[in-house]
Amino acid sequence: MLVAPFLKRNSFSRRGFIGPIGDDLPSLVPLVISLLLFFSIFTLTLNTYNTKNFFINKQIEMTSAAREIKGDSLILNMDQFMKKCRTVSGKNFPYNFMVGIYGADSDLRTTVSDLLDLQNNGSNPNNQILSADLAGSKQNYFCVYKHVGALPFTQNAKTAYLLRYYPVAVQQAITRTVNGAAVTEYLIIPGVMAMVVWE
């Protein structure tokens, strides 16, 4: 009698046919492995892409902000410095930043902690950051910009910050005694602008 093959399962199972799943299991294993592999690598690539893009954007923003603040690498006075800082922060700069200008004789190994001290306490214990006399009181060449609601720069943020140095010249007023009279003169000294950017 002529019988269609699909009606003859029993005869096939006797020849090694287990069932649709059983038969396809060997092919399902590489299929599942490849899907797992693909989605793992895809996730990894997506994460790497986002992280690198974020880092690159941060660097670009930092470079342009630093260029704007240092201008022609000559800081004439505190007003000019603070005005440039405000200009950058007023443009809705997408990150938080701190900028300080060090004397050229400074030890830059403590930059981050110096800037942290200035941010938190307004003090400059190492006295490395240049200052200007404004109406009898000293003001450090330091500015900080934080988004509304942004967390302050802390040890935790240190993992995701960028720090760069730029040589600058700073004009300082000095008072000299000439023939018994006090004369204010202006002197241009070398300095280093340190900029920290964090999220």
């Binding site: 690198k52 690498s73 760069r164 008072t175 023939n179 002197l187």
Partner: protein, 287 residues
């Protein structure tokens, strides 16, 4: 009967082939996925490297250009002995600010010193070269451990061959051997055995205008350069254009830079340090 067997055989083969086909299909699929994954992984590893390199080169160029600008802006002592650094309360500036009578400690722009010296005999004297070295040292002091540099003033010339350098100041780290060196760890300074290295400033008089390109640049790796143009008076109201350049590179021990004073060297350098008390002291390390 024969036909039934034929059907059975055919169907059996068909089912078997279908199982094998599914396996082969899945193997093909894994091969395709592996290829895509390799591509994705390669993309993930390499993505942004070019941009990052470009941004770093922007920074390096900015750094060199800023350094050159600062060198041309800042004031130095008229005798070339020092550059004022630090806050008004720091020693060098307070000494200056209380100095009396006027003129005992005068300061000026480095460029003004250069122009003044050049106007005398169309050359730069040792005092001016020391002032340049002091300025370079002060401006780049925060990065002193990591960089070497060359600063030059040269005539604008298209003529090949003879030297066009008015001044060439080369500054490198010189390795003298091993000995006890002070090491500061967590604020505590102790003497430990280590390499004896000092920054040395050389004033060079190269024999040809490609001396840096031939003797230094090929050996020091990536160089960040900044160039500017100045005019120097040549008398009777005439001026000539000159180029000032600064080349900065990451410090490394290279044979040719270990002793640029060697006889026969195209650089023709002499050490400037012992002539200036403000530059790093090398006398205690010299053999």
């Amino acid at each position: 009967m024969k036909t039934e067997n034929k059907y059975k055989q055919r169907s059996f083969l068909h089912m078997n082939q279908r199982g094998q086909a599914a396996l082969v299909d899945s193997l093909f699929f894994i091969a395709i996925v592996a290829t895509i994954c390799t591509g994705l992984f390669y993309f993930a590893v390499n993505y942004g490297l070019g941009t990052e390199n470009l941004l770093n080169s922007f920074y390096s160029t900015d750094f060199a250009m800023d350094s050159l600008k600062v060198i041309t802006y800042i004031n130095v002592m008229r005798d070339g002995s020092a550059v004022i650094v630090g806050n008004p309360s720091s020693s060098s500036l307070s000494t200056l600010s209380t100095s009396s009578p006027a003129g005992s400690k005068e300061y000026d722009y480095l460029l003004a010193l250069i122009k003044e010296d050049f106007s005398k005999n169309k050359k730069l004297g040792t005092q001016t070269k020391i002032a340049i070295a002091n300025t370079l040292y002060s401006v780049l002091k925060p990065f002193d451990d990591s960089v070497d540099y060359a600063f030059y003033i040269s005539r604008e010339s298209t003529v090949q061959g003879s030297s066009t350098y008015l001044a060439l100041i080369l500054s490198t780290h010189k390795f003298y051997g091993y000995g006890m060196v002070p090491v500061t760890i967590n604020g505590v300074t102790t003497d430990r055995n280590g390499p004896l290295v000092r920054r040395v400033f050389y004033s060079c008089e190269p024999t040809n205008n490609k001396a840096l390109e031939k003797n230094v640049f090929p050996y020091v790796g990536q160089i960040d350069s900044a160039l500017g143009k100045i005019t120097l008076g040549t008398g009777l109201g005439n001026t000539s254009p000159y180029i000032i350049g600064l080349h900065v590179w990451v410090s490394k021990q290279v044979g040719v830079l270990q002793d640029p004073t060697a006889v026969g060297s195209e650089l023709g350098c002499t050490i400037l340090n012992p002539l200036s008390p403000t530059l790093p002291n090398i006398s205690d390390l010299e053999p």
